[in-house]
Structures are given as structure tokens and as C-alpha cells.
């Protein structure tokens, strides 16, 4: 039988344990990743997570000598999941934006690539609101890219999809006339693949974040973790391991500081 005293004792122990968990030393870090953003984050045919984001996450953990768990989360609920403590940091190609800064804190950028317009080759001469008037633009929902399209291409229809890879699925299926996506994902996961045959980039690259780049999000006020992550990123860039990771995926420079 449970006596009242043992129940009280159990509750006190639990409270004590959770109190020590309140001040973590970050020897164990849970990282939220996405898995639908090749080549940054993807699921290999044998079901494992791989990609640049994944390698960066593992690289940071190796630098910090921390034990890391990667938790896959749909893009849609990424920030809410962070804030309800399903994980402690987001390494999911998240562009640093003013809106997001209201909900989370960001590390220094760990890469920066522009966005790109993709359409059937020859279908459009230029990427302007006039030339896309009345056409359907596929873009990932709840993102700076979706906001950019909604603000600047009011004459076009938008097809808001749930994942970055859906932009290219819908484009190939003919459900959208233009896709607006990451220059790297559209290139590596679509244009260079058989599915992307006959499609091409339209107009110049678009820099959305004003060059703010892509960062690692932590909960507001988790400054110790943010500093640790920044330190690890700096160390990785200094010792060449960042470059080694990047050349595994890209034949061009994606590092955030290349402009300077």
C-alpha cells in the first residue's frame, strides 16, 4: 500500500530532481531537426537523418563534448516544440528574422544562401510581380519566403505547402507555375535531378533576411547554451572542420562571412 508519507516523499524527490534539471550544464542537449530540406536535412533510404544541418549539429556537440539527441520535428511546429521543451535548440536551416527573434534567441549565423525563383525553362523572362501576375507561386508556409511572396506578389496566387520539398513536387506536378525556394535546395534536390528536367531559375537570387543568414534557435533567455553554441561554431570555422563539412555538400561557399 502507498502510505501518504511515501507519496509525499516521492513528490519531494521528483521536485528536487526537476529543480536540478532547471540549471543544466548542457552535457546533454536535445536538438530539433527537420528532415525535409535536402541537402541540409534529409532522411536516407535506410531511415537515418543526414545532411549539412545534421553534421553541424553533431559537430557542435563534438566541440562541446556533449551528448546529443536529434529529434525530428515537422517544420510547422518547430518553434512551439522548442518552447515547450521538446528539445533545447533548433538546427533546421532557420533564417534569422525579426518575427522569429520575438519568440526565440538565435546563435550567430552558420550559413547563408539566397532564395531563388524556379519555373519551366523559358516560361518567364523576369521575376517581377507583373510577369507572375495571375500565376500560382508555390512556397513553404509560415516562413519568411511566404511572407515575402504575400507582401510583394499580391497579383499572384500562392500555393502554401507544408515542406520545402513539396514546393518542387507541386511544381513538377504542374500544380504551381513558379516555385520560390532555397537556392541550394532547389538546385541540389530538384534542378540537378531528373525530376527537375526542363525547369530553370528565373531572375536573380533574392536575399530575404537582409544577409542575416541562417542560425540556431534556442529558447529566449537560454544564454549559456547560446554562448556555448556560438563558441563551438567559431571553433569549427577556425579549425577547418566547418569547411570540411561544407565541401561534402556544396561546390560553392555557403559560410555566412563570405561577403566580408
Amino acid at each position: 500500500m502507498f502510505s501518504l508519507r511515501s507519496v509525499v516523499f516521492a513528490i519531494c524527490t521528483l521536485a528536487a530532481v526537476s529543480a536540478t534539471a532547471q540549471a543544466p550544464d548542457w552535457k546533454k542537449i536535445r536538438i530539433g531537426v527537420e528532415g525535409n530540406y535536402p541537402p541540409f536535412s534529409q532522411i536516407t533510404p535506410d531511415g537515418k537523418l543526414s545532411g549539412f544541418d545534421i553534421d553541424i549539429a553533431n559537430g557542435i556537440c563534438a566541440q562541446l563534448k556533449a551528448e546529443c539527441t536529434l529529434i525530428q520535428q515537422e517544420w510547422d511546429g518547430m518553434i512551439p516544440a522548442l518552447n515547450v521543451r521538446k528539445f533545447d535548440a533548433i538546427v533546421a536551416s532557420m533564417t534569422i528574422s525579426e518575427e522569429r527573434k520575438k519568440a526565440v534567441d538565435f546563435s550567430d549565423p552558420y550559413y547563408d544562401v539566397p532564395s531563388r525563383w524556379i519555373a519551366k525553362a523559358g516560361a518567364f523572362k523576369e521575376a517581377t510581380p507583373d510577369s507572375f501576375k495571375g500565376k500560382k507561386i508555390a512556397v513553404i508556409r509560415n516562413s519568411p519566403r511566404a511572407k515575402f511572396v504575400a507582401d510583394n506578389f499580391k497579383g499572384s496566387e500562392t500555393l502554401l505547402v507544408n515542406k520545402e520539398t513539396d514546393v518542387y513536387l507541386e511544381l513538377a506536378a504542374g500544380r504551381a507555375d513558379i516555385g520560390f525556394g532555397s537556392s541550394v535546395v532547389s538546385g541540389e534536390a530538384f534542378l540537378k535531378k531528373p525530376e527537375g528536367k526542363g525547369f530553370a531559375q528565373v531572375g536573380p537570387a533574392v536575399n530575404l533576411g537582409g544577409g542575416a543568414g541562417v542560425g540556431i534557435a534556442v529558447r529566449k533567455g537560454d544564454d549559456a547554451l547560446r554562448q556555448k553554441i556560438n563558441g563551438a561554431l567559431k571553433a569549427m570555422m577556425a579549425d577547418g572542420s566547418y569547411k570540411k563539412l561544407a565541401t561534402k555538400y556544396f561546390d560553392f561557399d555557403v559560410s555566412p562571412n563570405r561577403a566580408q
Binding site: 518553434i79 515547450v84 506536378a173 500544380r175
Partner: protein, 239 residues
């Protein structure tokens, strides 16, 4: 605490989502009901050429998840050149059409089995009486079998309708902005869990109880003979 301003500002979006959910439910259920009556008659037919294909159809559809059926129609068909180049492509291009098709095919299978079961449960005496009066098979179905089967199927069918209403949430996976999609967007943009999913739960709750209420009314009307007759004895006691 609950942030009412989030609910207030997103209420128009929820109402737009409600419209999508309701429309999808109504067009799928009516298509399903219309198709399942002839299919149920074929299903109980003694001719295997009629009954076996329908058996196979309901067996396959009831044996696979609706989500998979929707994905095959929405994503799968779009990759088949035969369909891409056919005159039906403008239809399959639309998420609405794909959702309507998948939902109709699904609910038709379940409704067919519900009506077929109700047809089989017809008391043999009713059929014999009708035959002894010289009714043709068509008249037998029109006057005896189907009216009786509809009555018996009503309680089960109300379950199917409510189940289908909840299943419309699956449409949010193919870019339709239904109630569930609105809730997820509000959640993603305002990071307000209780506000987003609490509000949508209230919407679904009201929808469910309205549907159940409608079926109650229908049962009260068509299943009147099954209700307990208590009024008469109690008035006797009072006197």
C-alpha cells in the same frame, strides 16, 4: 492564461476553415450516399459477377488508410504521365477535386457495407409476403427492402458521418486550408497552443453535436416505432 486576442484575430480564419471542412464533408457524404445504394444492392446480389467486384472494392478501401488513398490520388497520380497528359488532368491538378474523390471513394465503401448489412437483416417474412403479393424484384427493393434498410442503417450511418467529419482534417495535408490547417497555422504563427487547438476543438465539438442532433431528429422521425411507449399506462395510473 488564455490570450483571447489571438482567438479574436484568427476567428475569421477559423470561420473560413469551417467553410472548407463543411463543404468537403457535405459533398463527400452526398456522393457516398448516392453511390452506395446501388453498390449495396449489388453487394447482396446472389450473382457473383455483381457482388464480388463490390466486395473487392470495399475490402481494399476499408483495408487501407484514408491518408494513403489521398496521397495516391494527389501525389501519386500527378507522377503518371498517362494522367498528366489526359484531359482529366485539370481536375486532378486541383487539391479540392483530389480530396473530394478520395473522401467519396472512402465513405462509399463504408456506407455500402452499412446498407448491405441492413439489407441482409430484412426479416424473411417481409420478403415472402411481398413475393406472395406478386411484387417484381424492383418493387420489392423500392417498397420493402430499401426503406427498411435505410431505417435500420440510420444509427450506424450517423457514426460514419461523424467519423468522416473528423477525417476531413486529413485534407490539410494536401494544401487545403480546413479547420485543422488553420489551427496549425495559428499555432505556428502565434505559438499559442491552447488558443489554437482549444478553439478548433470547440469548433469540432459543436459540429459533432450538431450532426448527432440532426441524426437524432431523423431517428425520431423514421424510427418512431422503436421508441418505448410509456405515455399510455402512466395516464391510466393518474386517473
Amino acid at each position: 492564461m488564455i490570450d483571447w486576442s489571438v482567438i479574436a484575430t484568427s476567428l475569421p480564419d477559423f470561420l473560413a476553415g469551417l467553410k472548407v471542412t463543411l463543404l468537403l464533408l457535405v459533398i463527400s457524404l452526398s456522393t457516398g450516399l448516392l453511390l452506395s445504394v446501388p453498390l449495396a444492392v449489388a453487394r447482396v446480389s446472389s450473382n457473383p459477377l455483381l457482388s464480388k467486384p463490390v466486395w473487392l472494392y470495399t475490402y481494399v478501401i476499408r483495408g487501407t488508410p484514408l491518408l494513403v488513398q489521398l496521397f495516391i490520388i494527389y501525389y501519386g497520380f500527378a507522377q503518371i504521365d498517362l494522367i498528366r497528359n489526359s484531359s482529366a488532368w485539370p481536375l486532378f491538378r486541383e487539391a479540392w477535386f483530389c480530396a473530394w474523390l478520395a473522401f467519396s471513394i472512402n465513405t462509399t465503401a463504408y456506407t455500402t457495407e452499412i446498407i448491405a448489412g441492413a439489407l441482409r437483416a430484412t426479416p424473411a417474412g417481409e420478403v415472402e409476403a411481398a413475393k406472395s403479393l406478386g411484387m417484381t424484384t424492383f418493387d420489392l427493393y423500392r417498397r420493402i427492402l430499401l426503406p427498411g434498410a435505410f431505417r435500420r442503417a440510420l444509427p450506424q450511418y450517423s457514426n460514419e458521418a461523424v467519423g468522416m467529419m473528423h477525417a476531413t482534417a486529413i485534407a490539410s495535408t494536401v494544401t487545403l486550408v480546413d479547420l485543422t490547417r488553420v489551427a496549425r497555422d495559428v499555432y505556428a504563427n502565434h505559438l499559442a497552443t491552447v488558443e489554437a487547438f482549444g478553439t478548433v476543438a470547440v469548433f469540432y465539438f459543436v459540429l459533432t453535436f450538431s450532426l448527432i442532433g440532426l441524426f437524432r431528429l431523423a431517428e425520431r422521425h423514421w424510427l418512431k416505432h422503436l421508441r418505448a411507449q410509456v405515455a399510455a399506462p402512466s395516464t391510466l395510473v393518474a386517473k
